[in-house]
Amino acid sequence: MMAGCASARVKRPRWAARSDGDRESSGGQPQGGRPQSSEPLWRALAVFRFASLGYAALLAGVLNSARYSRPGWAWAALAVMAAWTVITTVAYARPERRTPPLLSADLAVSVGLLLSTYALQYPSAMRAGVMPVTATWMAGSVLAWAIRYGSGAGAVAALILGGCDLWMYHRAVPVVLNGLVLLLLAGVIVGHLARLAAEVEAERQHAVQVEAASRERERLARDIHDSVLQVLALVQRRGAEAGGEAAEFGQMAGQLEASLRTLVGPGVGGGLSAAEPAPTSSKSADLRALLLPAQSERVTVAVPAQAVLLERGAAEELAAAVRAALDNVRRHCGGRAQAWVLVEDEPGQVTVTIRDNGPGIPGGRLAEAAASGRLGVSHSICGRLRDLGGSAVIRSVPGEGTEVELRLPRRTTVPVVAS
């Protein structure tokens, strides 16, 4: 099924093949070919019919039996109702059988049974507004039309039945109007519900297809991406071996490879496994996504496999501090020094370590610089971390490079973010 969805040639979901949607009847059916979405409604209708059948039997057979001039025939009518309920419930169980002919037959039977009351009840009973023999059962066909063809069809069916009702009980109009209004309401609301369910189902299906297609695209992109990277790596190798001008090309290829590799990496929508997508909201950010772009030939960024989530402001400040540290490396160690950035995520704090293999800072120079007001390192790194409620430690051994360790506790208090 995944392949089918992914190829986006398939416009309809696989189970739409046998649905009513294949028959586009004239008269705009609001419910498309998605019978599955209305299944619960059909089941509810079946329950309603049986319940109303019981109620009608109770009314006609017991409570109002005195109002019937032909009680025997009334029972016959009830028997027809029962049989018809069973027939329709079985028929409606399969989506392809919910056809206009069947629905019309349902309506016709309901009308017929309703009108039979004329022959079954005493005129005085009808004047008094006693419930017809079908009681609430006749709403079943209105609901069936509504579920199948929407509010419009439901309203029409309600009007037809209500009209017959009105014709029969024209002496007891208030009571009948009640019934008509209720029927209309039921038809319209249920029709609306059915269409809503169908729309939601369609949207969900669409979303599933889109996601499958995009996942397929992502996989393809990763494949292509990897192929390009490999070729560049090869060119670099061959160039290095051949020497001369080829070596220059090789170097360029190497640089391209390094930057392309970081372009589609974790946190930038690329290669993370689907199990760990970085859930960023407007409040939080994945620190990895902010730091990985700093990768280059000279800078290696090492991160854990899961997202490192921090408040957006804090994450950006921390990333700025890291960038400042990397700038320092470039400025004080020249273009040849290499730097490594390590991101560690512990439950209580986030630690970022920046190490370089430059000449290191002679002892005392740092304190000297801070004291004399050349605040470079002091402000852009230490100051930032202090403002965030964290700490920055700079260690350096001349000849062995410098290490900057930034710690940021996961706080419960709001940080004072320097604006």
Binding site: D226, A258, G271, L272, V303, W340, R355
Partner: protein
């Protein structure tokens, strides 16, 4: 691997040019390239007759993931050490491959000397770590420490020393530099890193078996036949 015999290497990669380049480099350096399968299934089939000491394995294969191939190889041919290569850097699949039993990892764009060095170390069974991989492993131990513990299962923990060493590897220090800084021997540093990896791999194997039992998969099949590790 008898003394004096060249080390047998199998190169698994679906990119023909790349495969040939690597095979050529290895042959020139004195290794014996015994097979060059182009996909995972072929690799598992051929490994039996080729009996490699080292398997250089691309993680992106057309039919199976490199992780599955690693599992299969470790199950069926425990004598072969796996060096996984990836073009796009250290991501979840690299971590999974290492957990599944790979001895080391290298980026495809590593220079020839680095690559040959890695193959030699893999043949000796020494772990080959990049800074990125060290960070992934650190993160994995931390994740295991905070994840809800399985019934009775011991979550593997890092000692202080091991954490320290892994952090140094992750910030680009060589074993020699680490040894100097911590006043240890080179071999000791190597052992620490190796132990870390072994514990992670053991934990993964235990998890796989438990997963199989829980889900009623046949417990007579070797772990390599399963498609997924525990999530």
């Amino acid at each position: 691997m008898a003394q004096g015999e060249p080390i047998r290497v199998m190169v698994v990669d679906d990119h023909p040019m790349w495969r040939d380049a690597v095979a050529r480099d290895l042959t020139e350096a004195g290794y014996e390239v015994v097979a060059t399968p182009a996909d995972g299934a072929q690799a598992l089939r051929v490994a039996g007759s080729a009996r490699p000491d080292v398997v250089v394995l691309d993680l992106q294969l057309p039919d199976m993931s490199g992780v599955e191939v690693t599992q299969g190889l470790r199950a069926a041919h425990p004598g072969a050490h796996v060096l996984v290569l990836s073009a796009s850097g250290e991501q979840q699949d690299v971590l999974d491959a290492v957990k599944a039993g790979a001895t080391g990892y290298l980026l495809k764009s590593a220079v020839r000397e680095e690559f040959l060095d890695a193959v030699r170390r893999t043949a000796d069974g020494d772990a080959v770590f990049t800074p990125g991989l060290a960070a992934l492993v650190l993160g994995e131990f931390r994740r295991l420490a905070t994840a809800p513990a399985g019934d009775g299962a011991e979550t593997p923990k890092l000692t202080e020393r091991e954490t320290e060493i892994l952090r140094m590897v992750a910030t680009g220090m060589s074993y020699k530099q680490i040894a100097t800084r911590l006043v240890l021997s080179h071999r000791t540093v190597q052992n620490h890193v190796q132990n870390t990896l072994n514990r992670l791999q053991l934990h993964n194997r235990v998890e796989l078996v438990r997963y199989a039992i829980e889900h009623g998969l046949a417990d007579t099949d070797p772990p390599g036949t399963m498609r997924d590790g525990p999530k």
